[in-house]
């Protein structure tokens, strides 16, 4: 008899956890009967039935929701009589055979769809355990029916392809429809992390491991030129920044407010990394809103001047724009632009175009497509690999990060990185530069802190970027594998410096999977503001507490790790970069022993 833990929330508060026995006769019904019902009744913004104490939308501290935000949080149809999961589940169970690839024996059993999972309960004679798939991880679904049975092919966001052979045409159709509907639910607060209550973990743990305050303590030990500002306490200045940010001590909060108005999305320049050995800093922001009239902002100029003044004496600065000079110029038409040279003495602008948005997503899609064709000639594979340009993007990202790191360590210069919004390629560059320079970010804890600080807190819109992976047929809107590109670059670093990273490929693979679909709340939402609104920190478990359990740690660590205080300069020659087989060929080539 197997045990799985199914957790449920009563009415959106006070989660309780139950252990459910599976494996007996009518366990399917048992699972279904435990489905959360009426969850949404608790809280669409300001509805009277909402218990004030737990509703995030009542508190006067919270700003009003924009339409986009409410769609994001509650799904496209936030009606008071919100639908229940059970409405989406048409067939509770069916007999099915699951094929998981060429090397794994098929599983037979009873298939059931629950609110968040696809379950396969093996028959009484079977020895294998219950098989479970998070519906959120389904990227695309394809069904075929022939005779009195059907086949459903599920392509998952972690690039796995599963095939289900199901008895009964009607059952196949119903299950396919249910999976389709449930896997594409957009509402955050009905997603599985809000129901997941694993044994051995306590809610609220690990969420406070890596806030900006913690990083500031380290910076404050090294230099006196920076302060922690809570100017964004209520997220009104910059909705995509966390509450606290690190800024030059010489600049007060009023000046920051004015800077924020001069930068797209309010993302004024903040500290990303302080490089103590050279006394220089890495900053990030979004593009300045110079517009066609070439607007200036005295506070913004003063802020960057204060950065140089606070750094080692005589430090120069580089503004690293992740767009081409051409693209940056064109951005003026739509109100954006770049820093005028005359207005920022001591700063020099460099342009290093990095691919973003849709072209990056298309590159990812084409690469995954190429990896799927096993029966092809070598020529064909090489030309597909070349045509998708993925490795080119890896190379560009690493080169740009090297440039930023070099400017700091070798030239003793301060570096400000931004592109347009400052939430994608900007973060790619700042986080990679830290891995190159900062030995502590190459430890397991340090890398988790880096991901938390430079991606999650820094406002990389995970909810939008990772809504779909490479198999989705839908036209990409906001999807882009920027975070995956980051992980790939880290993998390349690990391959070139096998002793220098405390974590192994396992951690990178885990982060990839969890960024796209996860039982944990860490990668939910697109900004701290949204996470606060959804009470992610109090109502879901943190991935970090999940990963930092001793039994998980073993899988994630690099046994060869030897701490080294030096910078690691990767080779970015095309010959030195490799396809990340462990990720892209993970499911097609399981027999790679190492």
């Amino acid at each position: 008899m197997d045990e799985i833990e199914v957790s449920l929330t009563g009415s959106g508060r006070g989660p309780r956890s139950e252990v459910l026995a599976v494996g007996g006769g009518n366990s399917c019904e048992t699972v279904r009967s435990l489905l959360p019902r009426g969850l949404l009744n608790s809280c669409p913004a300001g509805v009277a039935s909402c218990p004030a104490s737990s509703c995030p939308f009542r508190s006067p501290r919270w700003p009003r929701l924009t339409l986009q935000e409410s769609v994001l949080l509650l799904g496209p149809r936030p009606t008071p009589s919100a639908m229940e999961f059970s409405e989406l589940i048409r067939t509770g169970r069916a007999q099915a055979k699951l094929l998981r690839g060429p090397e794994v024996p098929p599983l037979h059993g009873t298939l059931c769809v629950t609110g968040h999972h696809l379950l396969l309960l093996p028959g009484p004679q079977a020895t294998s355990d219950l098989w479970l798939l998070l519906l959120r991880s389904v990227d695309s679904i394809e069904k075929r029916v022939s005779g009195d049975s059907g086949t459903i092919t599920l392509r998952c966001k972690d690039l796995r392809v599963l095939q289900l052979d199901i008895e009964g045409v009607e059952a196949t159709r119903d299950i396919a429809r249910s999976i389709e509907a449930l896997s594409s639910l957009e509402s955050v607060i009905t997603s599985f992390p809000f129901f997941y209550r694993p044994k051995g973990l306590r809610l609220g743990d690990a969420w406070h491991f890596h806030p900006p305050e913690r990083y500031y303590k380290r910076v404050a030990r090294e230099t006196n030129a920076w302060r922690l500002s809570e100017v964004n306490e209520d997220f009104s200045l910059c909705p995509s920044y966390p509450r606290a940010v690190i800024v030059p001590r010489a600049v007060d909060d009023d000046a920051l407010a004015r800077c924020a108005r001069f930068r797209q999305g309010g993302r004024f320049p903040v500290l990303s990394y302080h490089h103590a050995p050279s006394g220089t800093v890495l900053l990030r922001s979004s593009q300045p809103l110079t517009g066609p009239q070439k607007r200036h902002c005295a506070e913004d100029e003063e802020l960057l001047w204060a950065v140089l003044a606070g750094a080692r004496p005589g430090a120069r600065g580089f503004i690293l724009d992740t767009r081409s000079a051409q693209a940056a110029k064109q951005a003026r038409v739509t109100g954006g632009g770049t820093e005028a040279r005359a207005a920022y003495p001591g700063w020099k602008r460099l342009h290093r175009p990095l691919e973003r948005g849709r072209p990056l997503q298309e590159s990812f899609v084409r690469l995954v497509e190429a990896c799927g064709y096993l029966e092809q000639s070598t020529d064909c594979w090489r030309s597909r690999l070349e045509a998708c340009h993925w490795l080119g993007h890896v190379k560009e990202a690493l080169s740009t990060a090297c440039l930023a790191a070099q400017a700091m360590e070798r030239e003793g210069a301060c570096v400000l990185v931004h592109g347009a919004e400052g939430t994608d390629s900007t973060l790619l560059v700042t986080s990679l530069a830290q891995l190159i320079l900062d030995p502590s970010s190459r430890t397991v804890a340090g890398f988790q802190e880096l991901v938390e600080r430079e991606w999650i807190q820094a406002g990389h819109p995970f909810q939008l970027r990772c809504a779909h992976s490479a198999f989705s047929h839908a036209r990409p809107k906001h999807e882009a594998p920027t975070f995956l590109l980051f992980l790939d670059c880290v993998w390349q670093l690990g391959r070139q410096f096998p002793l220098s990273l405390e974590f192994g490929e396992g951690l990178l693979l885990a982060l990839f999977e969890h960024a796209y679909a996860s039982p944990f709340g860490t990668f939910l939402c697109s900004s701290e503001k949204e996470r606060c609104l959804c009470e992610v920190r109090t109502r879901t478990h943190s991935l970090w507490s999940g990963l930092n359990q001793p039994k998980e740690q073993r899988k994630l660590r690099n046994p060869l790790y030897v701490p080294s205080p030096l910078a690691i300069w990767p080779s970015v020659e095309p010959q030195s970069l490799r396809l990340w087989q462990g990720l892209f060929l993970r499911w097609t080539r399981p027999n790679l022993q190492r």
């Binding site: 096993l374 070598t378 690999l385 070349e386 080779s571």
Partner: protein, 549 residues
Amino acid sequence: MEFAELIKTPRVDNVVLHRPFYPAVEGTLCLTGHHLILSSRQDNTEELWLLHSNIDAIDKRFVGPLGTIIIKCKDFRIIQLDIPGMEECLNIASSIEALSTLDSITLMYPFFYRPMFEVVEDGWHSFLPEQEFELYSSATSEWRLSYVNKEFAVCPSYPPIVIVPKPIDDEALRKVATFRHGGRFPVLSYYHKKNGMVIMRSGQPLTGTNGRRCKEDEKLINATLRAGKRGYIIDTRSLNVAQQARAKGGGFEQEAHYPQWRRLHKSIERYPILQESLIKLVEACNDQTHNMDRWLGRLEASNWLTHIKEILTTACLAAQCIDREGASILIHGTEGTDSTLQVTSLAQIILEPRSRTIRGFEALIEREWLQAGHPFQQRCAQSAYCNSKQKWESPVFLLFLDCVWQILRQFPCSFEFNENFLIMLFEHAYASQFGTFLGNNESERCKLKLQQKTMSLWSWVNRPSELSKFTNPLFEANNLVIWPSVAPQSLQLWEGIFLRWNRSSKYLDEAYEEMVNIIEYNKELQAKVNVLRRQLAELETEDGMQESP
């Protein structure tokens, strides 16, 4: 001829050496009959000790009185020497050119090399055909040793002793030899003990345009089949190429005359194409343009990995016929000295666990490459930097090593040797102080009296101090057939060979060391655990004995 005649300037001071991964160093350059030596003057230590025979091509450049010689080695390394004085530079360059292209084999370094180590086991006698045959004869009596080629008269590229079907006498073998290209009549290459199936190899049959037959050939090939069994003839040429070969007197086995055999055609490129592929690949690897598309494009255009795939696919097919279909096979292309040997030797790596051990792999090289008459002297005379359009050069052996590396990469625990072992073999095939890879076949090696006059590579490699460098710490004997994946995604460029001089392997080497340490430590702990367990068991039995009375 005296070497001294070729060395006009034996010594130049103030030469600056640039080479991969080391800072430039200034020193004195000396030329000897076989070596180019650079020693820095400060502490009189050698910075460079390079065999002339390792030099593939040289370029020279002048800027004012300063001359520069760029030396491109057969192991793909590129070294630069800055030599003050135009005359010295010209002299050195012409000496290197002459000394690196000596015509006479007997002037090569192996004939002059005297080992500094004690020879424990003479490698020339490590792998005798009789011993190899004993491994089979315990399992089968269907085969015999034949001395028909004792004088190398029947087949000049075969060794004096070959293994043939027992019912076929030497007279018949002589007749078959006249019907096969280069006299290479079908001989046993591998006996699969599990089911008694065999791999044979030969040259193409000389059917010609009028479809000549040879009764003895048909009888020989059929004699290898057990009653009611079928066999496969794997031709390493496409059907089209095989048909065209008839015009030049060659051809293939007609199915009508070999009714129990099915012919399969698999196209593996012939050696001149492979040489071009190598040249393109090495050019691409040295490309400094830092452009990802260009690199991938050039890598693809070299077709190197396509050749790897073709060879591995054919080897897998051969192994499949033996292990899965339970059928014997005969493999040949045209001469039977290149692609044929690639396929027979790789099929053995797949099928035979012994050939994945160090000793077994050496025996395989000895049997399937050296004794089998792969023309090393011709194929490895020049490497990827050679400008002159030579006719016979081809990286056939390197491709084989690359294929082994691909399998090793996919099955990292199944091989007793590591990547360094393969790299070492590559280096010695092209330039060596040992006599093993000299000559094109056994007949030539006999005439050169290599056994008496030179040292065998195996005498050096098989000493414990050397072996430790080549042993794979992950090795766990695996008695199964190992099936490599030949999907293009699974095949990778062999960085250890092709990017060896472009990118430092310092960190990878450190990681390797660390891995070895961890494995050693693990073994120690295991040993401790075993001792403690034994002690516990002893204490328990003692307890038991004390309690029981």
